[in-house]
């Protein structure tokens, strides 16, 4: 398959949402994807965060910092990005007497992660 054809196929797949759920045409453009792989999620730290949130119900910042071995600055930067994108829900909650910042994956985040998994498998076929 030459470059033009593959680009055309990828564009068609994108328009139809690939094999996964439909891609939101208003907020996401073709440039956000590479063969259906969302560039935003392909960033390793964001991918790790979203994968851990997808594998659990709720997780707090300390847990993620310990598990992923990140600095506070790095973690909060990516958490903010994910929250802005609507992929995660961030809430402050008291557990006992101590406040915790709890993170939870949103429905949008779940869809995007599933789509990302499918896209990367398709790409590597």
């Amino acid at each position: 398959m030459n470059g033009k054809e593959s680009k055309k196929n990828a564009r068609e797949k994108l328009k139809s949402g690939g094999e996964g759920p439909e891609i939101d045409a208003i907020t996401k453009t073709e440039n956000d994807f590479f063969f259906g792989i969302e560039r935003f999620l392909h960033e390793p730290i964001r991918l790790q965060i979203i994968a851990h949130l997808n594998a659990s119900e709720k997780v707090d910042m300390i847990f993620l910092k310990n598990t992923l071995g990140l600095t506070w600055g790095n973690l909060s930067f990516h958490v903010t990005k994910l929250e802005e994108k609507g992929y995660i829900i961030v809430e402050k909650q008291f557990i006992g007497k101590k406040p915790y910042t709890l993170l939870q994956i949103s429905e949008e985040g779940k869809k995007s992660f599933e789509r990302y998994k499918r896209a990367i498998l398709n790409f590597l076929k």
Partner: protein, 204 residues
């Protein structure tokens, strides 16, 4: 095993590395041993079992979450409980049946009952270790359960003068093993994870 299952198991492992469950089991076994001398303690065992989830939660809020953070396991993870409960009850039923069969063949008396009764807590400990094994896929957790059952069987062949001693010594030995495992895990945990203060924004 796919990546998501591996992450789920990793998250589960991080919730059990504090050793609190082992210390609680040790406490129960210790009290169960003393209950042979004072039957009132059976009530204490029951109360402890019922209130353990609340006590554990309070302990975790105070000593564990400030160190490793808070995590709530996924609800689909709980579906594994069916698998665990099935295995647990199969082991328990086998232990109870073996106990009754052995007591029946040797002739019922307090001494023979006490001689074979370690088979039941031995089975329960094997069942409990299955919980850790199923949810974490780490076979080492099954080791403690197998040792517990093996010890229960070995105790049958040790000629104690008083029948009650079979059960009491078994329970206390198990309590020592479990408390040692739990304490080592807990102190390792304290050393490895200092209390973390959550920072917002542009920390380092």
């Amino acid at each position: 095993m796919d990546a998501m299952s591996q992450i789920q198991k990793k998250i589960f492992l991080s919730t059990i590395k504090d050793g609190l469950t082992e210390i609680f089991i040790a406490l129960l076994l210790l009290i169960a041993g003393f209950a042979f001398f004072n039957s009132f303690l059976v009530v204490l065992i029951f109360v402890l079992q019922v209130s353990w989830s609340k006590i554990e939660r309070k302990l975790k809020e105070r000593y564990i979450f400030p160190r490793i953070g808070y995590v709530e396991l996924k609800s689909t993870h709980r579906s594994n409980f069916r698998k665990y409960y099935t295995c647990f009850w199969v082991i328990m039923v086998c232990s109870i049946i073996s106990f009754f069969v052995l007591v029946f063949f040797e002739g019922w008396s307090i001494d023979t009952t006490c001689k074979y009764i370690p088979l039941i807590p031995g089975g329960a400990l094997l069942g409990k270790s299955l919980y850790f094994c199923i949810f974490s896929s780490k076979w080492k957790y099954l080791g403690i359960g197998i040792i517990s059952l093996f010890l229960a069987i070995a105790f049958i062949f040790i000629p104690f003068p008083v029948g009650r001693d079979f059960a009491v010594y078994y329970l206390w030995l198990e309590a020592i093993i479990m408390s040692s495992v739990g304490s080592i895990k807990y102190f390792n945990f304290l050393n490895k994870y200092p209390v973390v203060q959550e920072k917002n924004g542009d920390g380092g």
